[in-house]
Symmetry: C3
């Protein structure tokens, strides 16, 4: 069985950085199947990477190693981690990028990587993805037990920026924000199905969503429930509220940006 | 032998959508070799995907499974298909994206996917690429016979927009259009070698091409037959007429766009 | 053991060109592990590709085949090469793109590809990456000896543009240039650690770097040695001098471009 290693970085695809990490992984674990999640996280945006990882890892086979290199602190004394949780394995800097997959209270094992076990003859001060994290991920994929990568530690619990708990004003109004805008211009929010369930609309009530000056009445199941070019609110494929335009681009149509506020209220059906 | 699965989508590379589909495929068929054709089809442009697939699939080994997810109709009642033709296998929405590889009259087998056979515990209403088509492609790659994926059906025969039959005015003039502009700025047309053969120029005649106000006399064999920076017409690597600039960018130099008209006439050599 | 084949091109990712080359490779060598170095070399920029290859190939396992298709001369009489050096194998046009990995004087074996051994029924005049170089790389990966791909020849020795020897004015001043600007906006220069060593600063001296009107005193080890938003000079992960901004974008902050001059001097510590 070929072990799977996923890669999630902010490296982009213009440079050789991603290719070189794959070379390092394949030297150590020639049977690895390497899959790119994305390399187009905005530079240094830990929160974006955390959400993408949360939305992705469960679709992979148990035992997959997920290597996340969004590392603005390279060269500081931030730790590097390897972890096991939910039957998956993770390697990343200890900067909160794993906070959504290693939540406090979960059953998990975390070790602090000992760089000296992974560096080849010389270790760069600026590319620990290549020189420490990729080797660690490859050794895990090859079967090295987690405990041999370093010593147990407690990871940074801080949630990534943008993923802060929803505000809830007690008057039936939920305040979240746009976490991410996808390739199609769909607005992905930090409001989950379970958050909306707390609004408990009665049979005479419906949910109403506001983004900027735009108002969408009712939750749809699919894009196609509205005409082409019209705005729709639905639970997207990540289990999060999305505001979209059927066969169109909500970012452009609504003129909104990442971080903008999104509100949910309930009101009487008319 | 590792089965090959190709992916062709309009998902772009910023989100985790492509990576997650690969995770789903590798769970079901761990030996799959997954190859990206491109994920940068313009959103919802079925015609572009159809032409790319037509230009690509024969370069892969027999038995390859080609998964095409350009699916503006997700959430409508459009069918999802699996098919076999020419020794290759295809999975896609029934929206015409396969019309150039499953032409009417060809020997082919087509089934309508039964979603209930592929969805895991729960199936999203917005990402059938992940929840139905990727599992179907993976099962085909693993060896499941086509007939077990669904019931026989006749696919949508409509050719994609832009691929309409060439107009031919009987006065030795052929009217086509720019189907696609590639990364280098080369203008790929919908005019094939066989179309031009119908003009049957004599030894005293040559073909002349017009794009916008630009006129190119004679068909070249390579870019380098003209000086750097000059415009050239040739049969490109897809077997289609291309207008290009040697070591330059024809889109910029000629100021043209996808969909613009291209004409071919024959005239006396001077 | 699965042979590794790397790809380095200026094809971009919008078209099917890269995918089709992979299809061709996997038909001939189904066990190949194919890794993208990058496909976003600027069109026809041989020098960029040469530097990326030089920075990458040693991270791959011995025996890896590196296929480089940056080929503005397709259709001219430029030769196509296959080569072995340093335990690695290379396939590329003979246009200088291999000059940094096959330097004059190195132990190496180079053959001129005989196209007739690789073309299938018909060979395009415009896509030798697909029709000649990808098959040659795949046959090498499968185990065909280099000598069977063509006849011995001497490769083009010209270094790529931008990689010219550093100027050195004898007054303790070294003049180089910006070779490449990476995804993060870091300025990668053509000045290596060994070049700077020749400045031999004493204990009372330090190195000072100038880029445009900007001056950076002292060489740092990591980005994080300066505050966020400040400029830093360091030896980057390629072993070359880089000018960067901690958690920022040096290209934007300094307003510089590829090719701009970079100077190194030594001066008294203050």
């Amino acid at each position: 069985m070929n072990p799977v290693v996923t890669l999630l970085t902010d490296f982009g695809l213009r440079d050789e950085y991603v290719g070189v990490m794959k070379g390092v992984i394949l030297r150590i674990c020639p049977a690895a199947q390497i899959v790119d999640l994305t390399h187009q996280v905005a530079p240094f945006q830990i929160g974006q990477a955390a959400v993408i990882l949360r939305s992705s890892f469960r679709y992979f086979t148990a035992g997959t190693v997920h290597l996340v290199v969004v590392d603005p602190g390279v060269g500081t004394d931030r730790a590097l981690l390897a972890a096991e949780a939910d039957g998956h394995r993770f390697v990343a800097p200890d900067n909160g990028v794993l906070s959504l997959v290693l939540p406090a209270g979960a059953v998990r094992r975390v070790v602090r990587l000992d760089p000296s076990r992974f560096c080849r003859s010389v270790c760069s001060a600026t590319f620990h993805g290549r020189d420490i994290m990729a080797p660690a991920a490859a050794h895990l994929a090859r079967g090295l037990p987690l405990a041999e990568l370093g010593s147990p530690m407690e990871p940074n619990p801080m949630p990534p920026a943008g993923w802060s708990p929803l505000r809830w004003d007690g008057k039936g109004r939920l305040a979240g924000s746009i976490l991410w805008i996808d390739h199609f211009g769909n607005l992905v929010t930090n409001i989950g199905l379970e958050d909306m369930a707390r609004l408990q609309p009665t049979g005479e009530e419906r949910l109403v969503f506001t983004v900027g000056s735009h108002r969408i009445a009712g939750l749809s199941r699919t894009f196609a429930q509205v005409d082409a070019g019209r705005v729709v609110a639905l639970i997207g494929s990540r289990g999060l509220l999305e505001v979209a335009v059927n066969r169109g681009d909500a970012r452009r149509l609504l003129g909104v940006a990442q971080g903008d506020a999104v509100h949910v209220i309930k009101e009487e059906k008319t």
